[in-house]
């Protein structure tokens, strides 16, 4: 089973913000399309390390993660095993799970 790791602060930006690509360079849509979806297509699981970025607004998170189900057509049950958000901030992880359509522990 192959696994991909995305370190947001190093691979993408320390300053994620905005929903759509038209909003700005480091938007949720761009993160989803350029990082998460290719990683999902090439590996079984995607570990997303969130710490190191300044913070994540709800627009960014909803578009990046909620968009996987709404726009990209992934099933929540499939994503539950394949997307692994990692952060010291449990509330951030819970918020991402909510956008993925998963039960929040």
């Amino acid at each position: 089973m192959s696994s991909k790791v995305i370190r947001v602060a190093e691979d993408f930006t320390r300053f994620p913000a905005g929903r759509y690509i038209s909003d700005g360079r480091y938007s949720g849509q761009r993160f989803r399309q350029d990082f998460i979806v290719p990683a999902l297509k090439s590996g079984d699981t995607v570990r997303i390390e969130l710490d190191g970025a300044l913070a994540y607004g709800s627009s960014f998170l909803e578009e990046a993660f909620g968009g996987l189900v709404r726009t990209e057509g992934f099933m929540p049950a499939d994503l539950e095993n394949r997307i692994v958000p990692v952060s010291a901030d449990n509330l951030l992880v819970a918020e991402i799970r909510e956008y993925l359509g998963l039960t929040v522990h």
């Binding site: 930006t13 320390r14 300053f15 994620p16 913000a17 905005g18 929903r19 759509y20 038209s22 909003d23 700005g24 360079r25 480091y26 938007s27 300044l54 913070a55 994540y56 607004g57 709800s58 627009s59 960014f60 909803e62 909620g66 709404r70 909510e98 956008y99």
Partner: protein, 358 residues
């Protein structure tokens, strides 16, 4: 107006006042800019071949005090009229201004910057610097003076002024907000820092997506940029961050795609409608996108300062003001004049050190 006070007889004074008011009314009818109600010729002066209209700025630049706010809004109406309708230029006279608060300074800066971008170099907009030393330095540090032709001021040196920062953009630029917050590294509790970053970037997102979906209420339809302006100020142990857009305002953008919201707002009296709209937006789980999980922006904006007892967050939008002051004291007001846009002010303590707030 000077004429009126020189005349001693009460009857004559009334007659002159009536004539003066009639002339104002006539000028207002002629004006294309809503709310222009002053005597243009009495303020005019000449510099070379260009006729300038002298526009004195208010004594206090603030949106919190009703009188100061009304005075600032009147000044902005005049400035828009002179620069976008008249033939000459404007001479903005800062000499009387004695106090600058982040909210008023932000609105003034945004309006001047917008006008400068609209007119380019086709019209002259000059200024006379403030006499108050601190006000003068703030106007220089925040880039207000930079928007005027033929004026260069000395760099700010005062400790209370050098920490003012400003940025503007038409995209959601997290780096601008992040850099301001990084400047306070070690002085802001981490949860407050991340909360502010979320709040500011959500406000930028709202500005880009929702604020400019119609014509601004000032009657000026040119332009079309989705611009925001950002200020930060560090003073007396507090960090203030202000973000502003000059769009249609929450009271107009919120009901655009929500018939339910429109219905709810129509039940409020006109003198409460704007503040109720902001309140409603801050409580809604959805925005004009009508999609699930959208619209957490405004609650997130307010939450940014809730983590500290001394923190405050006030949202000004059109005529409304909503939010909470230090000690979580609710703030709800509706003023008579509109700022024609949305302006958010966060104020958080910077003395809590690295310890997080539980």
């Amino acid at each position: 107006m000077r004429k009126i006070f020189c005349v001693t007889s009460r009857g004559k004074r009334s007659a002159i006042r009536r004539r003066y008011l009639r002339s104002l009314l006539w000028r207002q009818r002629k004006s294309q800019v809503r709310g222009a109600t002053w005597r243009y010729s009495s303020l005019a002066c000449r510099r070379g071949k260009v006729e300038f209209v002298r526009l004195p700025t208010p004594v206090t630049l603030s949106l919190n005090d009703p009188n100061a706010r009304a005075e600032l809004l009147r000044f902005l109406v005049k400035l828009r009229f002179v620069m976008l309708n008249g033939d000459g230029g404007a001479l903005v006279d800062f000499r009387l201004t004695q106090a600058v608060h982040p909210s008023g300074t932000m609105l003034l800066f945004a309006e001047i910057d917008r006008i400068r971008r609209l007119i380019g170099n086709t019209r002259e907009m000059r200024c006379r610097p403030a006499e108050d030393r601190i006000v003068d330095q703030v106007l220089e540090q925040t880039g207000v003076y930079e928007r005027f032709s033929h004026f260069a001021a000395a760099a700010a040196t005062d400790e209370t002024v050098i920490h003012w920062r400003q940025a503007t953009g038409v995209k959601v630029q997290g780096k601008d907000a992040g850099s301001m917050l990084d400047d306070c590294e070690g002085k802001l509790a981490p949860s407050i820092k991340s909360g502010l970053y979320r709040g500011v970037t959500e406000a930028m997102t709202n500005s880009v997506q929702h604020a400019y979906v119609g014509n601004r209420g000032d009657g000026i339809t040119v332009g079309g940029e989705k611009r925001w302006w950002l200020f930060s100020e560090e003073r007396d142990g507090f960090l203030s961050i202000v973000i502003c857009d000059l769009g249609i305002g929450i009271p107009k953008s919120l009901p655009k795609q929500h018939t339910a919201v429109r219905r709810i707002l129509s039940t409020f009296a006109a003198d409460r409608a704007d503040v109720e709209a902001i309140k409603l937006a801050s409580e809604l789980g959805k925005t004009s996108t009508s999609l699930q999980n959208r619209g957490k922006g405004l609650p997130e904006i307010l939450d940014a300062a809730r983590q500290s007892d001394e923190g405050s967050c006030i949202i000004f939008s059109n005529r409304g003001q909503f939010g909470f002051a230090a000690g979580k004291r609710a703030v709800e007001n509706q003023f008579t004049g509109s700022i024609y846009g949305t302006l958010i002010v966060w104020r958080v303590p910077i003395t809590e050190g690295l310890k997080d707030v539980e």
